[in-house]
Amino acid sequence: MVINNISISYLILILVATLFAFSISFSLIRNKKAKFLQLVVLLALLALVSGWLFISNADAVLLNLFHIYRFSMLFTCLFSILFILILVLSYDSEADYFYTLLGIIATGAMIVPMAYSLITLFLAIEMASVATSFAIMTKNKIHLEAAMKMFILSAISVSIFSFAMVLVFPYNPQLALAGLASNSAISGNYLIELGIVLFIAALGFEAAAFPFNLWIPDVYQGARANLTAMISGINKKIGFVAMMMVLFLVFAQYTWFFSGIIAMLSIATMFFGNLVAMVQQNVKRMLAYSSISQAGYIMIGIAAASSLGLEASIFQIIAHAFMIIGAFAFVFWLESQYGMNTISDYDGLAQRNMFAGIGLSILMLSMIGIPPLLGFYGKFLLFSSALNARMAVLAFIGIINSFISVYYYGKLMIAMHRKTNKKHIMISRNIAIVTGICIFVIVGIGLYPEFFMHAASIAARALL
């Protein structure tokens, strides 16, 4: 057998299938450590193989269902790494069935960027989001409520998505993720325009764009913080990946139509997230609203609808995933071990644990967009792409929002650095590993961003 990119591409499929099979079989295994190790090894293999395929410029369609190309491989690699972080974060704190559900979520998340038809995309998204709502669920009433909300909203998103598919069906009978037949590209084709709007709405639920974001704060607060990290770091990003794929693969000729809609949604999302976050006292709710506003930033790049815009969005997706997972890792530790919830609970954190004080400050600074941290380059690219597309107003509103966000991130930073006489606290090892990796990525890549920017721009050009 010749070892070439095609055969390695099949390896990705085999690995994803193994992931799924393992996670189902986990219900028979009792040993938690074994499950943890198996998942980590599988995900690490996936990251390696997809990273290799990304570098070696693979381009193959497998079984007419999966498309292995640079865009999908970048996200497969990213999601594998993020899932490993989530696994390490939840080590020793979750019930038996958690590993099964996490495996299913991971399978869904891996398939989303690889999808070659709308049906695959649809199934993969639902696989991830339904399994997530089960993972949130425990006997605890608050968790149950959060799980219920997530479940209902993903059900709404399913129905809207399927209706949108029906509207597009006449022009795209294979439901392929490829451009519509050229005769459909006439302005005034309301069916297609309605289809676009419905796709944006359905995926807006996943990506938490305004006005489909009402579930976010409740679910984020209700879920355990390690799962919140996963929802905000991975599930939401799946929504964006799917949105980019649908808009730029299926509706590539309709840029003029969706660009304005996305721009308006983006402005509303940014303002909503930032203004509401300013009044929050609960750290998890504050971060939830902040991640809504970050979703708004990501949409600036989609609205710009150029290769620079997509590059910016992809870069910001990567950056925000690491920032928010790091932040929620700290929150998870402080909440689960010390019951700290509100901003006033965080008073003097820097004095009680220096690593947490400095680390959380770096994460906050990166989310504000202070150079030379990763978050800055994301915002820099996003605003650049808006200006490049001659959308100066959008860029200016983005900058104003980035300024507004300084208030609540600053509030947390100032609280953390107050003097206190509360006793010293110890950080657990798995939290330290996860946050350490996130901070290393944020600072290290921030010092030399060319590497990630190049990767993002390659992926963006592969999609366009």
Partner: protein, 482 residues
């Protein structure tokens, strides 16, 4: 032998930029990983090397070598962003000032000798920011170092400041991030509206006349507001007195000494870059005059000595802005000289205020009486500082005022000397404080502490350089080539 020495000098000059950035970067790592007792030595070594480099460059440039020391490495090649640094006369003057102030701060700024590790880490971080900012030839790099400096200063206030620092830290952060947001938007607009997409300052200067007038005005407004928030100029000055009240001594020295000069340097770059800014010259001068008089009046209401000095900063920076807005080489280099002089002076005044707090445990000018008895050096240094602020001949401030107001008279006629009155009022009010409270011989405030030898040395270093630049102005002026 001479040839070898000459070659060595050339080599050092070539690597001076790399040294002034690499040394603080290495020192940051060393401070982070070593024990607290080594922090001060590492910090002093780092700032000391920068001081040595800047003194070397002073001699090198004065000896008539070309000032074209440049370095460029690719940073983000896909967007045509290079890490471009270079030394020109203006940036060198500010770099010189910042290295002296940083060395004095690292030596003596931490008057209580507490939390040395955090202090020295932030000082060295600030050193990195100021060296990078003053030497950058690229707006993107300028912006990165600008924000590093702002954040370092935020942590000076936020983690080393006094007990009631919460609102001052927030105010500082909000004003400064507003400034840097506007700055970012402005430089992005420059990048996308010049036909050659570039952040390189000399490329922008060559092509900026191609930007349409409307966009140029917008860019000018954005950048100008950003810079005058930082300077600070009325009506965006409100953060400065509060920040100074809560900041520790070392933070205050760097805040007024160096951070406010970021804005001044930025305004100089802005006026160079955008030809349209000439049309706003008179309005800017008027704003500067208003700011100068406003801050003098506000200053007279204060009773905290740090707030008094903080308001004098606003006056001085308004004079700097006034000088730059003349659009003549006298005004421009006068403004630069004023920033050089004021940076050294204000650092000394804040060190004096910090020392007074250590010795008498209060900063209220109505309580302090006759401090000359218990804190002789501090009192005389402050007295000298007041005279220097008034423009004492043989001090650097004199040269600065001379240049600015020669330029002002030729630019605005006889009305151009109006801001001098503000300067006189500042001096008069400060003298009133000194003579009423510090020099009074009737009552004495009881001393509860004492300053150490390092503060004495720092006073001497700062005063020495003020008088060197005042008595030998031709050193700098020949580098400026005026």
């Amino acid at each position: 032998m001479i040839a070898v020495a000459y070659a060595l000098v050339q080599e050092i000059a070539k690597y001076s930029i790399a040294i002034s950035l690499a040394v603080p970067a290495i020192a940051l790592l060393l401070i982070a990983i070593t024990k607290e007792k080594f922090s001060r030595i590492i910090g002093m070594a780092s700032t000391g090397i920068a001081l040595a480099v800047s003194l070397f460059l002073l001699a090198y440039l004065y000896a008539g070598h070309s000032s074209a020391i440049n370095a460029s490495i690719p940073f983000i090649s896909s967007l045509n962003i290079n890490f471009e640094m270079g030394i020109n006369p203006i940036s060198f003057a500010l770099f010189m000032m910042s290295s002296i102030v940083l060395f004095a701060t690292s030596l003596a700024g931490n008057v209580h000798r507490i939390r040395q590790k955090a202090t020295q880490f932030l000082i060295v971080l600030f050193q990195l920011a100021s060296a990078g900012l003053f030497l950058s030839l690229n707006l993107f790099i300028f912006f990165i170092f600008w924000d590093i400096g702002v954040i370092a200063m935020f942590f000076f206030i936020n983690s080393l400041g006094s007990e009631s620092r919460k609102s001052a830290a927030m105010k500082f952060l909000i004003y400064e991030i507003l400034a840097s947001s506007l700055l970012l938007f402005g430089i992005l607009m420059i990048y996308f509206y010049t036909p050659v997409h570039s952040f390189n300052i000399s490329t922008i200067i060559a092509n900026s006349s191609l930007i349409p007038a409307g966009e140029q005005t917008a860019i000018f407004a954005l950048l100008f507001i950003a810079f005058i928030i930082n300077m600070p100029v009325f009506p965006f000055h409100l953060w400065l007195p509060d920040a100074h009240t809560e900041a520790p001594t070392q933070g205050s020295m760097l805040l007024s000494g160096i951070l406010t000069k970021f804005g001044g340097f930025g305004v100089i770059l802005l006026f160079e870059m955008l030809p349209i800014s000439k049309t706003f010259g008179n309005y800017i001068a008027a704003l500067a005059v208003i700011s100068a008089f406003y801050s003098v009046l506000a200053m007279m209401k204060q009773d905290d000595i740090k707030r008094v000095i903080a308001y004098s900063t606003i006056t001085e920076m308004a004079i700097v802005l006034f000088g730059i807005s003349e659009f003549s080489s006298f005004g421009l280099y006068g403004g630069v000289y004023a920033m050089l002089s004021h940076g050294l002076l204000i650092a000394m005044l804040f060190l004096g205020a910090g020392s007074i707090e250590v010795i008498f445990n209060t900063r209220n000018i109505h309580i302090l009486k006759g401090i000359v008895k218990n804190a002789r050096l501090v009192a005389y240094s402050l007295l000298a500082g007041v005279f220097i602020m008034l423009g004492l001949p043989l001090s650097s401030a004199f040269i600065a005022d001379l240049l600015i107001f020669i330029g002002a008279v030729s630019a605005f006629g006889i009305a151009g000397i109006a801001p001098l009155l503000a300067l006189l009022l500042v001096g008069a009010f400060l003298y009133l404080i000194i003579s009423k409270s510090f020099m009074s011989t009737g009552k004495y405030t009881r001393a509860v502490g004492s300053i150490r030898i390092e503060q004495r040395i720092a006073f001497c270093i700062l005063l020495l350089f003020i008088f060197i630049f005042g008595a030998f102005p031709f050193i700098m002026l020949s580098i400026f080539k005026i």
